[in-house]
Symmetry: D2
Subunit: 334 residues, 4 copies
């Protein structure tokens, strides 16, 4: 395996592959920050290479994981496809719609010519045991017909470079993928609003979205990237005769003195690595196993592009205040 | 005290007054169903009278609780004001805006002439210890500046006569009052949507609303009057550095076999009487104490009318699909 | 009503009676600390009297609530019985077995002569809605035959004068009453142990008890009077096909930064007044209503004495390390 | 790897090794039920062999996982040691003290001769992320000095062949290992009792134990192997200034109609495979990695024997009713 990007996410993926995925060996790492690449390479017995192209082209590298900055995703994924190598790219698949459209086209062409696809996008929630159990519970009819979904997605602290648009394209994009997946129903329209903040002009955070699925289900989403107290993801599906929701990940609960009064409750994970450790492990293992069989059985280029299309609609809604319908593409091709 | 209406709510109020409110004695009851009135009267040592007018006019009756059908509220409240007697009217204060406007005008005139107000509306949540604690926690700055509120309001089964409009005017009206009260900030705009149901044309249920407060806070509301599993009210306020939310009322938790797999959790109350028993008790006691001092210190005619104005905007939004701003009245006079 | 003792408990009772109990009026207060008595008297429209005897003997006082220091209970309750006045005495009914035996004898004699009893002991948990619901759930057979009970009883901080014996006689005494009441089954044997503390010779805290009911059920109890983080009471009954347990009282839950990591959970009440506010209110109202009917329908002298008998066995066990069977009295007379 | 025993546990281990452990390949399976062995072998690309000896002796097998019936453990582990092959044996290490003593002696001898140990016992809880987090939290001093531990260990339904003694030696043995590990403090004495059951003479279930650690901490344990509603494991450590406890594993929570009233809570796993899926995966991976380095870094023969020694004391206590101190062995050699 080759790893592009040796930041927190790339390092985590490298470590997970080395520790937990039987069929994989981390052979090469590249990061524009050479020291960071060296460190990850050293920890996994890999070699740090001098460029992304060198890594993608290396005969030693059979498949690539991309965890580089979002603006680099499109070009790097396209290079992998050009090289005929399976690639798992962190979300978003590309920084904008046009990038993910190019990737989808390239993957489609490769599939037409070689009978297999190459691109998977890192929507790891689809592998989280709780999300999987939630989807199965709903699909089994245990809550009746779904009517409403409530999502909350909070980060402790956002990267200083985070923009309001990225709150949709880089954060809410998880909900834009997972809700259609949960209910097997694409998004038809989206409205995104932000509460007026004390200091206008800065990051619009939190955001609240009202999403309509093609089948009529309504979904509320809160994305809050500077929620301070931790990384916290909730999702409840409300059906005709019951509801089902995620529980927090296994861990410990505490009873301890608080501010003025005690508190009894669960500890909240600090970041996505802690919250979705299982999901990342299962995602990588499944992807490697599928790649060895010559297939992609996780979220593919079409899913990555579709989420980008909806995210672009969400950004438009955030700027205009209007409800934005999603282009026919998504419904026709789902 | 005189009680108008001897259905579930009126019977509950009569019983609560008789059992828990030192300064009150239930003296008279009226219901169009005489047998029902007799039963409540017998249980509280009161007399069943022959008409609402007789009760309101009775020299034995110092103050009136109205728990009759919604369409009768306006006329009965106006009669109480005309008789110069304090009245606690169940929500909604009137079935429509025009009714509550008349009541507000009458109460204003009475106040101008006699230096006191007479009308309180039964927004009992303002007396619920959990809601009170939530408001105090937010007001104390414990979560920083509030940004988002999430409300859920579910009934087990709606009355067969419930209409889609009543889901707003009779059910969501609780949120339309309590959210502004929680944050001390009036509602500026409301959007109400319903998921497309399997059988169009019937009750639009659940509803999802997106509410904007004048100060910029966003609020999502789910109202679901046929949620089946119980009567369940949630509210979370999300602030700059933490969140606070209601807990379920005290009761028991169980671990028991479920459908295929066991479940461990709290029992959900079946109706509002169980959920808000404390709140009703405190509401009535506070109202009686204030009435004896010649004041109204709970939600008054203005609050009841304001909630009706917003509810009417919500009904308009439900029918048109558009976001509806609330008339300047509310903000100017708040 | 007369109130003996104007500390936290007495003040709370006086306030509750004045605010919530229709049929009662607080007329007289006595405390050895005159200023404290004056304050409570002023807050409830009562008169501060010069001695306990004066209060008990006053023609203005129909019934007495005792919230004075434990060592004074026996003498004061006996005076009330001698005066023929209903008395609600805080737990423990007397500081030792001999005291409660005398009270039981006096109450028995009064009952034989006058056909009514006078003594109730302040086991307020019997009135707590959650404990009441727990008992009803078990009695209804919802968990099958009960087999095991787990109790936890924690205080934030103990009074500096608290002794190891008082951890049993004054704290665990609540469990010694409530568990037999929950299951309608008396205690047959008790073993009380303490973990070895860092500084031996000081307060033995926490305590762990293993209690055997006559019917064969086993019960574990943790009493921890300096648990720091709050006042926290748990109880789970484990039956043949399910379990049931108390939930915390209604209030708010928070998500906030914690020590190093965030926490999401319920706030814990600081003391018993907060935890059992409902229970105290219902207890006092029920007692007053029963007293007006000339009966005692709550926990009586026999219950108070029985709990003292078991507490004495518990103290013996704590000192000897041995399992102590409870004298035949309890089983024969239950 | 060779797998001895192809029941639920053995099949689960084989599947986990094949799916999740990079360095391992399942090569051989043996079960007295040949069909069962064939099935597991087919699912993992292994060969079903004709006897345990054949498997242990096979040149294709480098290490062995034992999940055969308890009475076979001792002989099979001893064979593995004789063959000089690393072995991970399900708990209990042997069906009785004498068996585990022999194993410890054999492992000691092998270590003296070859400088390495071979035996690990399947106390998988030591690898469960929640137990690991709990231990770290306590070790970090976050709750102050530990004073009390409360454990609950419930199975949905016991195997028909389960005996009362096995409730201690095969079930409670988990707590007998994990509590000393959590607090780094061996067990000094144990008292085990059973509530009197409706039908005496049958399985004594549930059991309640009071355990004393050498350092003075007290621990209560409930083991209930026919708890019906699910597989449920709880553990709370109570310290001087706070408590910490396990949370349930990640999954979903539901709100649904219950018996007469709704319920809102988490789903309980049906068995240990579901509850400890993570723990088994991490256990096997860690064991394989250590075995390849020529070491045992998990719970070894001494831990397995020590748990057996305490379990034997527990069985004695269950039969005699007496508190049983654990032989000096454990403390001297810990």
């Amino acid at each position: 395996m080759g790893i592009l990007g040796a930041g927190a996410m790339g390092a985590s993926h490298a470590h997970t592959l080395a520790s937990w995925v039987p069929a994989a060996r981390v052979g090469a790492v590249y990061d524009f920050d050479g020291a960071r690449a060296d460190q990850v390479a050293a920890g996994t017995g890999a070699t740090a290479l001098g460029s992304a192209d060198e890594l993608i082209g290396s005969a030693e590298v059979d498949a690539i994981v991309i965890a580089s900055p979002d603006p680099l995703h499109a070009e790097q994924v396209l290079s992998c496809v050009a090289a005929g190598k399976p690639v798992l790219c962190e979300k978003p698949l590309a920084a904008d719609e046009s990038g993910s459209q190019q990737i989808l086209d390239a993957d489609d062409r490769f599939a037409a010519e070689h009978g297999r696809r190459l691109v998977q996008v890192g929507f790891m929630r689809r592998y989280d045991p709780a999300f999987v159990a939630l989807r199965a519970h709903v699909a089994a009819g245990a809550i009746g017909t779904p009517r409403v979904v409530h999502c909350v997605h909070r980060n402790a602290v956002a990267h200083p470079a985070q923009t309001s648009d990225m709150n949709v394209t880089g954060s809410m994009v998880h909900e834009l993928d997972i809700v259609p997946w949960l209910l097997d129903d694409p998004i038809a329209a989206i409205t995104v609003r932000s509460p007026r903040a004390a200091s206008e002009g800065v990051l619009l955070d939190p955001l609240v979205a009202l999403i309509e699925l093609a089948g009529g289900v309504l979904c509320t989403v809160e994305v809050f990237v500077n929620a301070r107290y931790g990384y916290d993801v909730h999702c409840e599906v409300v059906g005709d005769h019951g509801t089902a929701r995620l529980t927090p990940p296994a861990g410990i609960a505490v009873r301890e003195p608080g501010s003025g009064v005690g508190v009894s409750g669960v500890q909240v994970t600090g970041d996505f690595v802690g919250r979705f450790a299982d999901a990342y492990r299962i995602e990588l293992a499944s992807w490697v196993q599928a790649a060895r069989r010559g297939v992609v059985d996780g979220p593919g280029a079409r899913d990555g592009h579709l989420a980008n299309v909806v995210a672009a609609a969400g950004v438009e809604s955030l700027h205009t205040g209007a409800r934005v319908e999603v282009a026919p593409f998504s419904l026709a091709h789902q």
